[in-house]
């Protein structure tokens, strides 16, 4: 799982990942409710996330498990990846 990878590379938030780049999810720093909802949508440790568009400002769009998803304001900073 994510833990072994964590030791090798630095953990950062998803909002720091540039458009077109890929990253692996480490954990989500949110309430239990949001955590669980995200988990059910496929945000589980180790999953590959492709950033389709890293707003700044504007939409934050990612692809996870072949599904395109839009993240609202404030969600991307809570998602930790490496």
């Amino acid at each position: 799982m994510g833990k072994t990878v964590m030791e090798h590379s630095q953990v950062r938030s998803l909002s720091a990942v540039k458009t077109g780049e890929k990253a692996r999810l480490v954990r989500v720093n949110a309430s239990r409710g949001l955590n669980s909802r995200l988990a059910s949508m496929g945000f589980v440790p180790g999953v590959e996330i492709t950033v389709v568009s890293n707003g700044h400002p504007g939409p934050f769009v990612i692809v996870i498990k072949d599904v395109k998803m839009a993240l609202g304001r404030g969600v991307a900073p809570k998602i930790m990846v490496n």
């Binding site: 409710g33 589980v44 568009s53 969600v75």
Partner: protein
């Protein structure tokens, strides 16, 4: 004939509703789950000698206790024990979709998987070994193409066979790995020993899984402290090992199970590449173009609803006018029959006044169905989300609020596009603050009477703006008080664009239209008659009317009626707002429909026919100041929504309490604001 009850579960965007339409055709009806604002669609069909009743469950990603929709779906499976549960899976996106499947497997109902949109999956280069996958999931799998109606017979066959087999014990469970399984076994033991009733109802495995996930609803059902102690210990133990909540680790393990099953049975011959959907998204979710595209589309929806709808609407108006004259003609011209008055002024005018909106409703829902079925709605929500999120609403709330400028009734119906109950209720409650078309008739009477042409535009604009500002403030307040709670941060799937099928669009549109007609024919009819009675009884004595012309006679009759008396009764209450009993009477009448304000006022001023509003304007100018006029505008904007709105709110929220709350809340708000404006305004002028 044997009855088979089927629960249709699945992710949002899995094509569940189109499959539902394919299964049940036109034999369906829409209601709310008792007491909650979540839509319940149910339909039925015949297959061989079976009657198959299909209940469309809310589209969810999971079955936790965190959202009402998920709770409803899971309660249905657990409590109502359908004969079969069909999990609709988007075959082009198996892994994420099967997550819900793993939870259904754990709940143990007879299960069938419908691998929907199988054609799309094939085009994406996915090749399934369904036989092998079916063995791993221990359930039948049927490939379907919902929007084309393919796979219907095979699915019905699988449903019947699965129902005949009934519940059977599973050979394998969803595995969670050594450490978690140990704790699950411990909890299962405790549950089996102490909570026999629960164990019998839900099964020990599922209970243990939910308890370890610290599911609020299930934890609350446990009676014995000892069981919860066991759970707490397990949770702490697992937190120590994984440095994460057990529920997250368990979610991960479910995905592990799925990806294991998929690896053996699905081959992906083509890599995901840039497709048409991505190209469209590059424009419609673009940070510069997104908003203009959205506004343009909304303009088209609005235009179609009200401009295009105007022609059939005029036709209906003509029809009700003709019907009124026709019925009226059954009596001699000078007749004062109250039955004629009831039929013409009460029933035909009352119901007709609402039914004329049917073309608007149909066009609006046609447009919404198109936006939803193509997949644009998700993008629209996303474009508006930032703005709407600030007032605690969802991006999609924007659409019903916009519709509210036309008419609150379809706007409230349109809130069905919102999945979250708190968002939906908040939106419904503030919709009447969007100044509707009927109120425009009041503005167009009052504004030209009191304001010079240079001021007319700004006054009108300010009324609309005040409505919008109040809606924003009220929404925010509601979210901070009674609808408190975490606004789920926005994470939304952007499904691939699809060409909608006429069938599903038409079914959707027709259902809304029919629902609306039923309301008009029942509750709204009743209330129209009641209000008619209030305005006509008790009738004045014959000698009071002697020597009066028709307008004067009407004036006396209204003064003498209950409505006129109530108007006088409330005069002391509304005096601080600058209103006299005449305005009071007209305001009471306006609860039937906002435009009635104008006709009532014209009666109390014996101003003659409605067409000649200049006489009435003259009289109004003689009696009131522009300040009072502005207060009338304000009060009509904010106060008591019309009867049809109240009925629709009651219907859509599933509770008359919300309708009463909306009615009283807005009236109090109108009173307070008008009071302040009038009293402060008086100091200046």
């Amino acid at each position: 004939m044997k009855r088979i009850v089927v629960g249709l579960a699945g992710n949002p965007n899995s094509g569940k509703s189109s499959l539902f339409n394919v299964l049940t055709g036109a034999h369906q009806h829409v209601a709310n789950y008792p007491g909650v604002t979540v839509e319940k669609r149910q339909g039925s069909c015949r297959y061989q000698d079976h009657e198959i009743v299909v209940v469309d469950l809310p589209g969810t990603y999971s079955l936790t206790a965190y959202s009402l929709e998920e709770l409803i779906a899971r309660r249905f499976v657990l409590e109502e024990k359908p004969d079969v549960v069909v999990d609709v899976v988007d075959a082009s996106n198996i892994e994420r979709n099967l997550y819900l499947g793993t939870q259904l497997i754990e709940m143990g109902p007879p299960l069938v998987f419908a691998f929907n949109m199988a054609d799309l999956a094939q085009r994406r280069g996915l090749v399934f070994d369904l036989e092998q996958l079916s063995r791993l999931l221990e359930a039948r799998i049927v490939p379907t193409v919902g929007n084309k109606g393919e796979g219907r017979t095979a699915l019905l066959e699988a449903i019947v066979q699965t129902a005949q087999e009934g519940r059977k014990p599973r050979l394998h469970t969803v595995p969670y790995g050594g450490e978690i399984e140990e704790e699950l076994a411990r909890i299962e033991g405790a549950v089996a020993q102490k909570e026999k009733e629960l164990a019998e109802k839900y099964g020990t495995r599922w209970l243990a899984v939910k308890l370890l996930e610290q599911d609020e609803e299930i934890v609350a059902k446990v009676e014995h402290r000892e069981v919860l102690d066991v759970v707490d210990k397990s949770v702490r133990h697992l937190r120590g090992i994984f440095r994460d909540e057990p529920e997250i680790v368990m979610a991960d393990r479910r995905y592990g199970f799925i990806s294991g099953a998929c690896q053996e049975t699905i081959r992906n011959s083509v890599e995901r590449r840039h497709d048409t959907s991505d190209s469209i998204d590059a424009v419609v979710t673009n940070r510069i173009l997104g908003l203009p595209v959205f506004l343009l589309l909304m303009y088209v929806v609005f235009w179609a609803t009200f401009a295009l709808g105007e022609y059939p609407m005029r036709g209906l108006e003509w029809f009700f006018g003709w019907l009124g004259t026709g019925v009226s003609g059954l009596w001699p011209a000078a007749s004062e029959s109250w039955l004629r008055s009831l039929l013409v002024e009460g029933v035909i005018a009352g119901v007709g006044g609402v039914v004329v909106f049917l073309p608007n409703i149909l066009l609006l829902f046609l447009a919404i169905a198109l936006l939803e079925d193509t997949g644009y709605m998700a993008r629209a929500a996303f474009v508006m989300d930032r703005l709407m999120h600030k007032i605690g609403l969802h991006g999609k709330s924007f659409i019903p609020m916009l519709i509210g400028f036309g008419c609150s009734v379809p706007a409230i119906m349109a809130t069905r596009i919102l999945e979250n109950r708190r968002n939906r209720l908040t939106t419904i409650l503030v919709i009447p603050l969007m100044s509707c078309g009927a109120r425009l008739t009041i503005y167009s009477l009052i504004i030209p009477a009191f304001f010079t042409s240079a001021w007319r535009g700004p006054v009108m604009w300010s009324v609309y703006l005040i409505g919008i500002i109040l809606a924003v403030v009220c929404a925010k307040l509601l979210r901070l008080t009674i609808f408190q709670g975490e606004t789920m941060p926005f994470v939304m799937e952007l499904p691939p664009y699809r060409v909608p099928t006429p069938r599903s669009v038409l079914i959707h549109t027709w259902q809304r239209g029919w629902m609306f007609l039923k309301k008009a024919g029942t509750v709204i009819l009743g209330i129209s008659i009641l209000l008619w009675g209030l305005a006509h009884f008790p009738r004045p004595a014959a000698e009071q009317l002697a020597g009066l012309d028709k307008a004067q006679a009407q004036q006396v009759a209204l003064e003498q009626s209950l409505m006129g008396r109530v108007g006088r009764l409330i005069e002391p209450v509304i005096q601080p707002l600058g209103f006299d009993w005449k305005i009071g009477t007209a305001l009471i009448g306006a609860t039937a429909a906002k435009e009635v304000f104008v006709s009532q006022l014209s009666i109390v001023y014996a101003a003659g026919s409605e067409d000649n509003t200049d006489v009435l304007r003259e009289k109004l100018r003689a009696n009131y100041t522009p300040l009072v006029a502005f207060c009338i505008l304000l009060f009509s904007l904010i106060s008591a929504p019309c009867v049809s709105t109240v009925v629709m709110t009651g219907h859509e929220t599933g509770s008359w309490r919300w309708a009463a709350f909306q009615f009283l809340g807005l009236t109090v708000l109108a009173y307070v604001i008008t009071f302040m404006v009038f009293q402060l305004g008086r100091l200046w002028m």
